[in-house]
């Protein structure tokens, strides 16, 4: 059931326990989930390392050390993660690339989440003609071959960072919209919605205050499916040669380069790949933890 604030008012006169808001309950639940907690910490460390780390390192992601081409990781020398075939330090490139990938992933998910939830909830709740039109638009956008649009957009508009994010989010909101609409279709037949309508809550009010909070579980899970999806889409775009432009780099670019040279220079693949996998696993576990925590039916 929906735990709206009005139902948790303490009844007993001398009750020492103060009431907890749903958010606080969620927070406490999350803390109990060890896997999610550990993942959150690791994720935090990775984010800090990627955004702030390069400032503390002496190497520049674009500097070529021609004297030290393709050296494997050595803790003693200057290049802890080794260098690539152009003499660029891998550690600093992995961190710089991580920053780009994380930004793309988070921004992309945020954008597609916002659009997707708004679109899907509205379509699902209002139903009828509006729903039909909105979902037909979704159908139409689904029908456009993604690779084609990616190629055309990148070719036409260039490969600035925000354009990469735009191209990716332009289509990833579609899935969210469908999922949200599906859930809304079920939700709107429930009694509490009837109750809300009976008390005169406006349509946007119902959508915002009653539908969306009950969707959060699915949305959060789906968002945590989306983040890795977007990061991987960016890497696939790099694989096709359409990702971020030099001198910017991303995990996708690094992994793609490294995968080709696996036998001769394994560190080129392993370092960014391990970072990517750990990050995405952490996102998954945090997502699951959030979903569990936000589950309003939790006892």
């Amino acid at each position: 059931m929906n735990t709206s604030p009005s139902t948790t008012a303490p009844t007993a006169a001398a009750a020492p326990r103060r009431s907890r808001s749903p958010l606080e309950l969620a927070f406490r639940h999350f803390l109990r989930n060890r896997a999610a907690l550990v993942s959150l910490v690791i994720l935090g460390l990775i984010i800090i390392a990627c955004f702030v780390g390069p400032l503390f390192l002496s190497n520049d992601p674009t500097a070529n050390d021609w004297g030290a081409i393709s050296i494997p990781p050595t803790l003693s020398g200057q290049h802890w993660f080794g260098t690539d075939e152009l003499g660029r330090d891998l550690l600093v490139r992995t961190l710089a690339g991580g920053r780009v990938s994380l930004e793309v992933g988070l921004l992309g998910t945020l954008v597609s989440g916002l659009i997707g939830v708004a679109w899907g909830a509205t379509a699902g709740y209002i139903g009828g003609r509006t729903d039909a039109v909105m979902m037909r638009i979704v159908d139409m956008m689904y029908a456009i071959p993604y690779m084609l649009i990616a190629i055309l957009m990148m070719t036409l508009l260039g490969r600035a960072f925000y354009l990469v994010v735009l191209t990716i989010s332009a289509f990833s909101w579609l899935d969210m919209a469908r999922v949200v609409r599906g859930q809304t279709l079920s939700l709107r037949t429930r009694e509490f919605i009837d109750a809300a309508r009976a008390t005169g809550v406006s349509t946007p009010g119902i959508i915002l205050r009653h539908i969306v909070p009950n969707l959060l579980g699915v949305v959060v899970v789906y968002a945590t499916v989306t983040v890795p999806g977007i990061v991987l889409t960016e890497s696939v775009l790099s694989f096709l040669g359409l990702g971020v432009q030099e001198p910017m780099t991303s995990w996708g670019v690094l992994i793609n380069d490294g995968a080709q040279k696996l036998e001769s220079m394994p560190w080129l693949l392993l370092c960014p790949a391990v970072m990517l996998c750990v990050t995405l696993y952490c996102v998954n576990f945090v997502g699951d933890g959030l979903r569990d925590a936000l589950d309003t039916k939790e006892r």
């Binding site: 036409l156 999922v179 579980g217 899970v221």
Partner: protein, 312 residues
């Protein structure tokens, strides 16, 4: 319900029209044409080529010519593959994509639902974590790394007596089952991760519902609860995903087709776009559009089956 389905099917026409127009405009807006070659063509040669493919006509006329041919079921000649028409190319690539991508979806569905349910039922326990760890592999390792790993293990490391790989490393050959196994495995691994995660979340939510508590209170055994009562409502978000998974596995499996050198639809789209083969690209767009509309309709119909409260 039938009326609803029919009405939705009719929507194919305006959808196809809208999508084709958008893609047509974008294609022609993109710099570079089919005859921009490293070795430039002389003016006379270029003129002859443009005349042959009606590219010397004004855009609106080309558009109408194309639509007219489309009405007759003719998707036009391919500029990049001179000896074949678009109809030929699409009809040759479609069975490949269906046979690999299409078949991989039900497999991924079954495995994903099983994994997700198992994790949900034993949530927060060690089973949950392990299942999620394994299930998420496809969501965490890029496909262009995972594919080659599969190939390396099954086609290069493991060898038959004649020295050939146990499974082929790529290609389609005569279309035998051997060529399908690894690409299907890759697609299944990728799709399982999305399905399992969504299933887990959804199943957890459903299992904590009141009606489940009632069933448990009545003494119903666990597996009956899951199968008979929880499964259908829990499948809703998964089914929502299925439409897009089908479409991407069939018409947009670009990385899989590249890694395994499969003659499928995804590769045709990329080839067509890179070479500015307008008719080929538009033909594929028509196919993708029809597929998308049909699959999304099926998904919506499935909603009604899964949740009897939903009416059309």
């Amino acid at each position: 319900m039938l009326a609803y389905a029919l009405r939705r099917t009719l929507w194919v026409i305006p959808t196809v029209l809208a999508v084709i127009t958008v893609c047509y405009l974008m294609l022609h807006a993109t710099p570079g044409g089919p005859f921009d070659t490293e070795k430039h063509l002389s003016a006379a040669t270029l003129a002859n080529l443009n005349a042959k493919y009606h590219l010397d006509q004004p855009l609106w006329k080309q558009y109408l010519l194309y639509l007219n041919a489309l009405l007759h079921g003719d998707l036009g000649p391919s500029v990049r593959y001179v000896d074949w028409s678009v109809n030929d190319l699409v009809s040759k690539a479609l069975p490949v994509s269906l046979g690999v991508g299409g078949l991989s979806v039900p497999i991924a569905l079954v495995i994903g639902v099983l994994l997700g349910t198992a994790a949900a039922v034993r949530r927060d326990g060690i089973t949950d974590r392990i299942v999620m760890l394994l299930g998420n592999v496809g969501n965490v390792i890029p496909p262009f790394v995972l594919g080659p790993i599969l190939v390396w293990v099954f086609a290069i490391l493991l060898k038959r007596s004649d020295g050939h790989g146990w499974l082929p490393a790529g290609g389609w050959g005569d279309g035998g089952w051997r060529y399908r196994v690894l690409p299907m495995a890759l697609l299944v691994i990728i799709n399982v991760s999305s399905i399992a995660r969504v299933m887990r979340g959804s199943m957890i939510e459903v299992l904590s519902g009141n009606f489940i508590r009632t069933a448990r209170a009545k003494g119903m055994p666990g597996h009956v609860i899951v199968l008979r009562h929880a499964l259908k409502p829990a499948l809703m978000p998964v089914v929502s995903l299925l439409g897009s998974i089908c479409i991407s596995s069939i018409t947009a499996a670009v990385v899989t087709e590249s890694v395994f050198a499969l003659p499928g639809l995804g590769q045709l789209v990329v080839d067509g776009a890179i070479n500015r083969d307008y008719t080929l690209v538009l033909g594929l767009v028509v196919l993708t559009t029809v597929t998308a509309v049909v699959f999304n309709l099926l998904v919506d119909l499935a909603y009604a089956w899964l949740d009897p409260r939903i009416r059309y």
